[in-house]
Symmetry: C2
Subunit: 265 residues, 2 copies
């Protein structure tokens, strides 16, 4: 099972880690993938750098990650959040082991060398110093070796580029790529909303189930970061993962069907 958590949920995370500890003691193999946008933003502000975003012509936004922002991102996700989550899990008796995608070529990505970005007034310009990548290859042998030895891999969304450079990759899609490589029984994407909502302002409008082949029809409901979660879900399902669960319920409840369940077949 591959579980994606946000990087900001410091308050809510202790319950989740206990739930993961429970799964682990039950013999469930788990890979945890985390984000880190919130800490990256606050750290960059403290270091005098306002976070910036790139908006693609298709309307998708992503972090503008120049060389300095890449260092800040690495410090936040691989330095602080990853070691913190690993040590918390260790405190709960889980033999967690943190990696980022550069480690042992866990996540190899292709850098987007020229990114088209649309300004609020509609002008398009090309950004060339962005260190963001699209994952092309996952080192499944490494994960399987660690899982077989009883470790719980905890993965920070940093990838290795073709030139040996570090790249920022999206955590949801990293989790999807890992789930596909391991042919996980489920990809669980934890977020701060109960699931995919028909009305983003009303948390009582969760869509309970979606058939994988109909996922496209539901894309219009996805706003903001939920779009990348659905993209990741789609990549996982296309790649052979049977179930993707999205929501903010306790893990046992999500596994029991709360939140949005997207499944194939």
């Amino acid at each position: 099972m591959v579980i994606k958590i946000g990087g900001n949920a410091e308050v809510a995370i202790s319950g989740l880690l206990l739930e993961i500890a429970h799964l682990y003691r039950g013999g469930q193999q788990v890979v945890l993938v985390h984000g880190g946008s919130g800490l990256t933003d606050s750290l960059s502000v403290r270091l005098g750098r306002a976070p910036r975003t790139i908006t693609s012509p298709g309307g998708m936004t992503s972090r503008y990650t120049d060389a300095e922002m890449l260092s800040i991102f690495a410090m936040a996700v691989a330095g602080e959040i990853n070691t913190q989550v690993v040590s918390w899990l260790q405190g709960d008796g889980v033999n967690a082991l943190g990696l980022s995608g550069v480690d042992g070529r866990l996540l190899v990505a292709r850098r987007k060398e020229a990114v088209r970005s649309v300004t609020p007034d509609g002008r398009v310009h090309v950004v060339r110093d962005d260190y963001t990548g699209r994952i092309e290859c996952v080192n499944g042998a490494l994960l399987r070796q660690l899982l077989a030895a009883g470790y719980v891999p905890v993965v920070a969304p940093l990838a290795l580029g073709q030139m040996g450079e570090r790249l920022n990759v999206d955590g949801d899609r990293a989790a999807a790529a890992i789930a596909v490589e391991l042919q996980a029984e489920a990809l669980v994407i934890l977020t701060n909303v109960p699931g995919l909502l028909t009305d983003p302002q009303d948390s009582n409008t969760t869509i309970p189930t979606i058939a994988a082949e109909k996922l496209d029809e539901y894309m219009p409901y996805a706003q903001g970061r939920m779009r990348k979660k659905l993209l990741g879900a789609n990549e996982a399902l296309q790649g052979g993962v049977a179930r993707v669960l999205i929501g903010n319920a306790p893990l046992p409840d999500l596994l029991g069907g709360e939140g949005t369940v997207i499944s194939s077949g």
Copy 2:
């Protein structure tokens, strides 16, 4: 072979990494351990926190690492330096894999809960919020498993405490503990001086060889951070490592006898 590098040598490091790549292609198993004092200091200043030190009654100085400084230390060593060194090695064709001591219980340490600190005017006070530890256990099975699979472990000097907390540990002594656990053929401690000098102001006064059983007699020559390197060297030799090499020469020259060679028997 266990190689300890500083965390500040960004300029000189590319040659070293090529030398490690050469050893790796020759079939040599290598574990790399790095520091990170310089970046921790500069990052903490940028974040508005002046670095502080604790001086023990015996005159040994160490970083005062409260909870906030521990986060800064983790971001610098595990977030920035570790991922940077790993990606550079990957760019040189070395399948490096970064870990800190919290990962898979690689380095388990005992926190020094009450540390006596001497002020410049000689007063002793007790510091209770310091997250510094002394390594008690190394997960050698994890390192051997990774080495056997062809990875080069790159280790950041963060350890796991008994309560699941992150701890700052000294990089030289972490390298020594790892060398002992693996019964390495040599521990190489790279630094910014040519070796142990009889006159710290004169780089032509390198002591070429020291017999392990006479190391105590040479301790008075060690100033500042060199004291911890000799402590680490002593721990490695006592633990069964045959040779400790200290210096700043290119790696092949150090292995050929340049710098200070401390050996047993």
